[in-house]
């Protein structure tokens, strides 16, 4: 190696190492590092949630049949929906479905959590088994429910006939009212463990001392539940109910597999209707408008949730 080269080497090295040092320092700054860590999930959300959402908003203002160019039509898609009897039936169905299923899941989940909080043999295994409906893929369990609801071979009707309660079982999915009851039942069955386990987690945070004090003060089981357990569980119950409303309101798979929204639209939900208009009928604009119509409800729920959290 020449002298010149040797002489210049340390200087040449010094520049990048100084740069590297500055870069390292910059990276180690809390503000920089936290943004770098946040960037991937933010990008992910923007790409897979923000972009489809904005595209959906854009589509709702255009007439855009599949494979055709878009024509701006302002609020016409929403006006068409406003005049669409099937859409209003789907809205009504969605509210009934969400309200009934949420109340049932809340009541059942609370009961399930209270029982699971007791000490009994095989408690661990029972807790694990109760999670099954939540773990099994919805499509798979819904197909099983199709068999359970079968008029001739189904478990329900066989049981009713075995107990001599009826001569011939009802048509669970053929009668419009019973079809709605059936989808609510399946949704409740699937969502119950979510409530049960979350409320159980809340129950386990309640200190035993409070219960003991209440007992010493003469409170019975109802008094302990009403004045100790329930108030302390309220934050958990509120959060789990809010999440459940969101999940239930947007439910799609269950109805799509079980009834397809029938009979005669009796179980059509806003999600299944938006899908049938947008994806099956190829009316991307109208389908997006129907899907966006669900957003205000979500907005109200989120506002309620954030204001509750702030108050707490």
């Amino acid at each position: 190696m020449s002298r010149v080269a040797e002489a210049t080497r340390p200087a040449a090295r010094a520049v990048p190492s100084a740069r590297a040092f500055r870069l390292r320092e910059w990276l180690e700054r809390e503000a920089v590092f936290s943004w770098l860590m946040l960037a991937p999930p933010l990008l992910f959300l923007l790409l897979f949630l923000g972009y489809p959402f904005c595209y959906g908003v854009y589509l709702s203002f255009v007439r855009r049949p599949v494979a055709q160019p878009a024509t701006f039509i302002g609020l016409n898609n929403f006006l068409n929906l406003y005049n669409d009897a099937i859409f209003w039936q789907a809205v009504w169905n969605t509210f009934r479905f969400t309200a009934a299923a949420t109340v049932l899941k809340l009541a059942g989940g609370l009961g399930m959590a209270l029982v699971m909080h007791q000490n009994f043999r095989l408690k661990g295994m029972t807790r694990a088994l109760l999670l099954l409906p939540f773990i099994v893929p919805t499509v798979l369990s819904t197909v099983a429910w199709q068999w359970i609801f079968d008029p001739g071979m189904g478990l329900f009707n066989r049981l009713l006939m075995f107990l001599d309660l009826v001569k011939q079982g009802p048509s669970w999915l053929g009668n419009p009212t019973l079809a709605m009851v059936s989808v609510i039942l399946v949704n409740t069955w699937r969502g119950l463990p979510f409530f049960g386990i979350t409320i159980l987690a809340g129950l386990q945070t309640i200190p035993d001392e409070l219960m003991e004090s209440a007992t010493i003060d003469g409170a019975g089981w109802w008094g302990r539940f009403r004045y100790v357990t329930l108030p302390l569980l309220m934050p958990v119950i509120f959060i789990v109910t809010t999440f459940s409303i969101i999940f239930t309101f947007f439910d799609f798979q269950l109805v799509y597999v079980l009834t397809g929204g029938g009979p005669a639209n009796a179980t059509h939900l806003m999600a299944t209707y938006a899908y049938s208009v947008g994806m099956s009928s190829g009316q991307m604009g109208m389908g997006s408008a129907a899907a966006l119509a669900m957003v205000p409800v979500l907005g109200v729920v989120l506002l309620a949730m954030s204001s509750y959290v702030r108050r707490r």
Binding site: V66, Q68, P151, S171, L173, G261, G262, P263, S280, G282
Partner: protein
């Protein structure tokens, strides 16, 4: 604050970031985002179809046709199967919209996205010329603005499937010829504990395949030939609605009003119903799995109404997506597939479940192997597209996918007055047809 500089051998923050960057770059390259160059020979053709109710059909494609094509051309065929029962249309719609890497497909309800399909007139004309010509009715679907947008394949025929033994028991030794006779026999069968199961739910085939022919047989039409005038509000429609309400109440299993396409197969094979409208898949399944039942199942054409006997098509056509990177390769594949050397055996592998729209197969030997399948061949003669007498365009796609006509009948069965159900259906139709 304690910071991890990686001195203990664990990953430092910078290492983590570097790793992330490398991973993202790798994923980008690995995803194969670059489109295939048209001048290069393609490595593969992706062909999408709905799974067949006759498993031998898909097996033949996988085990015979794919290896043969690869052997002859060196090109691999990827056979993408979509579950049957309504998910194929949304899948093809999303392929057209997202330009997903699929080259050719069974283009179900192609009227929704013809603009996203290649002109395949050369193939369709040559195949027709070579194999006895096409049934003219199917041209109403495949030909659009003078161009063939798909190559017809076959019709999944829909006929009356019934239990001959139970019909015999109530004195109906031949299948009822008219809808009125069908009702009379049905009343007797229901009393004997063997009701009909006529699908009226949110399916796609087994509901339209008898309700539309019934409507036409009574002399009613949904839309006039001009494709604009809604003609559903008529005395003939009212008679058809009243008839279906009575048929449902007096002759059918209650459950059928909510059935999707697989439900009547299940009910028939579990001996809950004595008749339904379906493809030949019930008999094929019964012969395979329930041989005793297989002996007592028979098929018949739809009964006729005051204005004649009708059937509706469940057509299968193949098309090529306009976004395919290599149209010539995709066309070569489709032409090869429709060559008699390939397509004849493929039709026969499913016992003519897809009744060919090509006249060359009208008297094919395969039809004689199971005489009970012959009505499905006859369906081609009286079959109409569901949009009949109007052209099959995207607006009728909305009618079908919103179940406007089906729900008119279903609501009547739940007790809604005839006038109301027709008025509601007409309002829905006018929103679509303007």
């Amino acid at each position: 604050m304690a910071r991890n500089h990686g001195s203990d051998g664990s990953t430092s923050r910078r290492d983590f970031l570097k790793l992330g960057a490398v991973g993202a770059a790798g994923a980008t390259v690995g995803a194969g985002w670059r489109p295939r160059k048209a001048e290069a020979k393609p490595e593969k053709i992706t062909f999408l179809r709905e799974s067949s109710y006759v498993k031998e059909f898909d097996e033949h494609f996988n085990k015979v046709l794919i290896p043969r094509y690869q052997q002859e051309t060196g090109i691999k065929v990827v056979y993408e199967i979509v579950a049957a029962g309504g998910s194929a249309v949304p899948r093809t719609v999303s392929i057209v919209e997202s330009k997903a890497p699929v080259d050719a497909a069974w283009v179900q309800q192609e009227w929704l996205y013809r603009e996203g399909l290649l002109d395949v007139s050369d193939i369709a004309k040559d195949v027709g010329k070579q194999q006895g010509g096409w049934y003219s009715e199917i041209e109403g679907l495949s030909v659009w603005e003078g161009k063939w947008k798909s190559v017809p394949f076959g019709n999944i025929g829909q006929c009356m499937v019934y239990r001959k033994d139970w019909f015999d028991q109530v004195g109906a030794t031949t299948f009822p010829d008219t809808w009125e006779e069908f009702l009379e026999v049905g009343i007797k069968l229901k009393k004997a504990g063997h009701p009909y199961g006529m699908s009226m739910g949110h399916g796609y085939a087994d509901n339209n395949s008898w309700l539309l022919p019934l409507l036409w047989g009574f002399g009613a039409q949904v839309v006039a030939k001009d494709g604009k005038t809604v003609t559903l509000d008529s005395a003939e429609t009212a008679r058809a609605v009243d008839y279906v309400r009575k048929l449902y109440k007096d002759a059918c299993l209650d459950d059928c009003i909510g059935w999707l396409d697989p439900h009547n197969n299940k009910a028939f094979l579990t001996s809950q119903i004595s008749a339904t409208n379906n493809a030949m898949s019930i008999l094929i399944s019964a012969k395979r799995d329930l041989p005793d039942m297989g002996k007592v199942i028979d098929h018949a054409l739809n009964p006729k109404g005051p204005k004649g006997r009708f059937h509706s098509f469940v057509p299968v056509t193949h098309g090529i997506f306009a976004h395919t990177p290599d149209p010539a390769a995709a066309k070569h594949f489709l032409r090869w597939l429709m060559d008699p050397k390939q397509v004849a055996a493929w039709y026969r592998s499913a016992q003519m479940y897809h009744a060919p729209f090509l006249h060359a197969y009208d008297k094919d030997e395969e039809w004689n192997k199971e005489p009970r399948f012959k009505p499905y061949q006859k369906v081609l003669e009286t079959g109409k597209l569901v949009s009949w007498p109007a052209a099959a365009d995207r607006r009728f796609g909305e009618v079908v996918n919103k179940w406007i006509v089906i729900d008119m009948f279903a609501k009547a069965c739940t007790g809604t007055p005839t006038k109301t159900v027709i008025a509601e259906a007409v309002t829905g139709l006018k929103q679509i047809f303007g």
